[in-house]
């Protein structure tokens, strides 16, 4: 077998040095009753070519060749082949966690650079070396707020990504924390400030909002911060679309930011692996989960980097750890670091600008269709909820014929948001792609007899 660097002769030679005749003799410590007495009933073995053929066949059974306008927590942005070629260097790909600092300076310095970039993006003072993803980062950030304030109630915005909310609930339930949901304003699409204020009390550890939120709308973070701080609570800001930070003010008033960095250089890859990040104020660093690379010197005064503040982590504190995380998303964070190094300050600004422009162009073109309106008035980055005169799912079925994956129907997530879809447009969508989408939607509405049913049905929605 090509992955096993021994010939049978070598195996026999080693066995005879051990005074044995077969490996079976090394397995005596396993009781007979525990042994598997037949070969594994599994497919394979496959040669390299057969493996590639197998996965190519699976790849052809998906959506290659379709143009997708989905966002909702996973974003299709431009990536460079340069980063991917660097990432495949064996010294990065096949290296271990950098516990032995002297022979991991490459990884550690890159982590230090990643932490710095995350602080620059989020306006926070410290950032960790990655969490699993944005959803678990949001849950861990909420837990962190609970530890910091010693309170047990969390107020979560209903406009937080539904799957992020589910994850927060899972963690909170197991710790018997109280989670209450603050609704969003039906006309702006922003979390209802007054309703939130009504829910925040002196048992509240944190207010959790996402910006841009799941509906694509930006949240006024300073106002939520003021509200939370007034009651002695913290404000956690989740970010699912990191490219937004290229055009949108950093949530500097947040106490903790829980971000998904997927947009910054990671492929959609059917939902993972991604790179979550927690960024916060320096004074909270000892309650922050995840690895941290710190700058230091060796005995000759040379600059170097080490994993630090490890006493928060599982391998030392065991049951008193801030989190049980061990393996994180290091290679993904490295990909993000490389991507941001290439894209740079100007590139990110330009990318964000293109997103703003293309999303607005798309919304404007859509609003030329009878009965189609942007549903919320709050400011948006590259995602917007559009209201349609009929079921979005049915429209999308028509669009599939043209190999287009249309806006995400919101009905399954918010019962009252029927006939509404979440449209995402990025710099990767050409003007033609957008025009094709709008034209196909027009044809779909025509064939469904929706052309003349304008303002009447959309008014009824509001």
């Amino acid at each position: 077998m090509r992955y096993l660097p021994k010939s049978n002769a070598e195996r026999r030679a080693i066995l005879s040095e051990l005074g044995l005749e077969s490996v079976e003799q090394l397995l005596q410590s396993i009781p007979e009753s525990c042994r598997l007495k037949r070969p594994l009933d599994v497919p394979g073995p496959l040669s390299e070519k057969e493996i590639i053929d197998y996965f190519r066949a699976r790849a052809s059974e998906n959506a290659a060749g379709y143009t997708s306008f989905l966002g909702a927590g996973v974003y299709n942005h431009l990536r460079s082949v340069v980063a991917d070629s660097l990432l495949q260097r064996g010294e990065f790909l096949t290296s271990y966690t950098p516990y032995q600092a002297e022979i991991s300076q490459g990884t550690l310095q890159a982590i230090f650079e990643f932490q710095t970039m995350m602080c620059q993006l989020t306006g926070q003072e410290v950032a960790n070396a990655s969490m699993y993803d944005g959803s678990t980062a949001a849950a861990e950030a909420a837990m962190m707020a609970v530890r910091l304030t010693n309170r047990r109630r969390i107020v979560v915005s209903r406009a937080l990504h539904p799957e992020y909310r589910q994850v927060v609930n899972t963690y909170a339930e197991h710790l018997h924390l109280e989670v209450v949901e603050a609704g969003f304003d039906g006309s702006t699409g922003q979390t209802d400030l007054a309703a939130t204020r009504g829910m925040v009390n002196d048992a509240t550890a944190a207010v959790v909002v996402q910006s841009p939120n799941f509906l694509g709308v930006l949240e006024p973070v300073p106002q939520f911060a003021e509200l939370a701080h007034g009651a002695g609570a913290l404000v956690v800001v989740a970010i699912a679309e990191a490219v937004a930070l290229g055009a949108v003010r950093a949530p500097a008033e947040a106490d903790i930011v829980a971000m998904e960095a997927q947009s910054l250089g990671l492929a959609p890859s059917f939902g993972g692996p991604f790179a979550g990040v927690i960024a916060t104020r320096e004074k909270f660093v000892r309650q922050m989960p995840g690895r941290l690379a710190g700058q230091t010197t060796d005995h000759e005064g040379r600059r170097g980097f080490v994993l630090t503040l490890a006493t928060r982590e599982q391998h030392i504190r065991r049951e008193k750890a801030t989190s049980n995380i061990c393996t994180n998303q290091a290679l993904c964070a490295l990909a993000v670091t490389m991507h941001l190094s290439l894209l740079g300050k100007e590139g990110l600004r330009e990318m964000a600008g293109q997103n703003l422009a293309k999303a607005r162009y798309a919304v404007a073109e859509f609003e030329k269709l009878p009965g189609v309106r942007r549903a919320f008035s709050g400011p948006f980055f590259n995602e917007a909820v559009l209201g349609f005169p009929c079921s979005v799912r049915i429209i999308n079925q028509e669009l599939l014929r043209d190999r287009i994956i249309g806006p995400l129907p919101l009905g399954p997530f918010f019962a009252e948001q029927t006939k509404r879809g979440l449209l995402c447009v990025t710099e990767l969508h050409s003007r033609q792609d957008i025009d094709r989408l709008v034209a196909a939607t027009r044809r779909a509405l025509d064939s469904l007899g929706m052309a003349s049913r304008e303002a009447v049905s959309t008014q009824a929605e509001r």
Binding site: I14, C34, P45, S95, A101, G246, G272, S341, L343, Q354
Partner: protein
């Protein structure tokens, strides 16, 4: 004493020391490494589009460098790292095996890397089929009944596993309060139990390093939810009484959780489902070769017995009558969702590619892993103290007892190993062996590499007698000397700041 394969130790490996600064220190305004295709719709003004209270001009401090500078920067950084591609990692319980390159290739295929998790399920059958086949493969290897591929790493898998146990017990009326953890366990085990709301009780190991069964019997009660066990344990020994432990627990309605970190000793030889395990997690970045990448991403699937199926996290992969696959989220007794979407799909693709390369032949890898560890045990047992003198499985644990009298400890020996061109083994773990040297070669090591490692360790043992100072002040050939960890923790500097 065996001769070192190469020349004098200090020339065995030399790290290339290039004076490479931080990426920010190379920045100059106006430089960029990536260009975008031109905008083909009307540009918008940020202030008008977002409002001045939301608009930001640019992110200050992000690098401004050219493509070649990025290539050089990261290439140079990479040369300061050790990696499996360079040589053996003897790290115990980490299973640092070869990361096959075809796995990287298939994970990047158009049609796999490009798929959006929320796209129509009819257009995702290829992705779902990959997950289904991997599920089946892992269930066959573990001997369990059902599985979730969602957890992103072993720790998250452990959390899911304990949460499933808790939900099961709660469903029966009492979640109970305690979880038993052997004192030889990995730190994630007790950390996990606490995150799931349990109190941890430590179970002693007996003289052979296995779980002390009488101590276990004493502690198992109606208030114990589970025992978390690693098998083989962190000493590399099979817990021969595990089936008995399972019976003890089951008699009191408690569950047996197995940490699958050491599955590299069992694949194809013994199946946890066959010896009484109710829940277990696997580390695909260990046994199934997905790359460590400097610390992740990994995947920690959780496999369970049938009685725990209702409690699986959502969504669960299910099959229709026509054979098509879909996600089922309507499961009233679920422990909930562990993360958005479906897990580290890209990692799962790599794991399946690895699995398919071996097929039933995976048992050969397991045998080679066990053979290699015993070879090292034999070749070093006369110079290093072996606290438990018994055959091991895929890993062997020595101690620094013999070297201590010269003022050396396991950390010093580990650092000296760097000068011989190897990454250190696992030091000071498991906690039940003071001054432990935990070594797991994996099946990926050739005779040549094993002999080189053995020669290095024997040379260091000789140095420990004759020139301990050399060992005490190691490493001498790495890019930096021993770094000041105390200073780093006292006054943490966790980011670069412009002057």
């Amino acid at each position: 004493m065996a001769e070192p394969v190469n020349n004098a130790p200090s020339t065995a490996t030399r790290h290339v020391s290039l004076n490479e600064s931080l990426i920010f220190e190379k920045s100059a305004p106006g430089k960029r490494g990536m260009e975008l295709p031109p905008l083909d719709v009307p540009a918008v003004d940020g202030d008008s589009a977002l409002g001045s209270e939301f608009h930001r001009e640019a992110v200050d401090g992000l690098p401004e460098v050219s493509e070649i500078e990025v290539i050089r920067h990261f290439t140079r950084l990479s040369t300061w790292n050790y990696a499996i591609d360079l040589g053996m990692y003897p790290l115990g319980s980490c299973t640092m095996k070869y990361n096959p390159r075809v796995n990287e290739f298939v994970a990047r295929l158009e049609g796999l890397a490009t798929e959006h998790p929320l796209q129509p399920v009819e257009l995702s059958q290829g992705c779902l089929r990959i997950l289904r086949v991997l599920e089946r493969f892992l269930l066959e290897v573990t001997g369990m009944d059902a599985i979730t591929l969602q957890p992103c790493a072993g720790a998250q898998g452990e959390y899911a596993g304990i949460a499933i146990i808790r939900a099961y017990l709660e469903n029966q009326g009492n979640p109970r309060k305690k979880v038993l953890v052997p004192d030889s366990a990995h730190g994630t085990n007790p950390a996990t139990a606490v995150t799931a709301g349990y109190e941890v009780l430590n179970i002693r190991s007996d003289a052979s390093g296995r779980i002390d069964m009488s101590h276990l019997a004493e502690y198992v009660s109606d208030d114990v939810a589970a025992l978390m066990v690693t098998n083989p344990n962190t000493l590399g020994t099979f817990e021969k009484d595990i089936a008995q432990a399972a019976e003890l627990l089951h008699a009191k309605g408690a569950q047996l959780y197995m940490d699958g970190a050491n599955m590299n000793a069992l694949a194809g030889i013994a199946r946890p489902g066959d010896f009484g395990v109710d829940v277990m997690h696997m580390n695909l970045h260990k046994t199934f070769s997905t790359p460590h990448g400097g610390g992740g991403p990994g995947a920690g699937p959780v496999a369970i017995k049938k009685h725990l199926e209702p409690f699986l996290p959502i969504p669960v992969l299910a099959e229709k009558a026509d054979g098509s696959l879909f996600w089922e989220a309507n499961r009233p007794k679920t422990i909930g969702r562990l993360r958005a979407f479906y897990g580290n799909f890209g990692v799962l693709v790599r794991a399946l590619a690895y699995a398919l390369a071996y097929g039933p032949g995976m048992v050969e890898a397991t045998r080679d892993a066990i053979l290699n560890a015993n070879y090292i045990r034999k070749k070093l047992e006369d110079v290093y103290d072996l606290p438990y003198n018994q055959p091991c499985m895929h890993e062997v644990v020595f101690s620094d007892a013999r070297q201590k009298k010269n003022g050396l400890n396991t950390m010093d020996i580990a650092k000296r190993l760097i000068d011989y061109g190897f990454h250190p083994y696992t030091t000071a773990f498991p906690l039940i062996v003071p001054g432990a040297l935990m070594i797991e070669p994996t099946e990926s090591e050739s005779r040549e590499e094993l002999d080189r490692f053995v020669a290095a360790m024997r040379a260091i043992a000789a140095e420990a007698e004759q020139s301990p100072e050399l060992v005490k002040t190691a490493p001498h050939s790495a890019r930096v000397g021993r770094l000041d960890e105390v200073g780093a923790a006292r006054k943490p500097v966790l980011r670069w700041k412009p002057r």
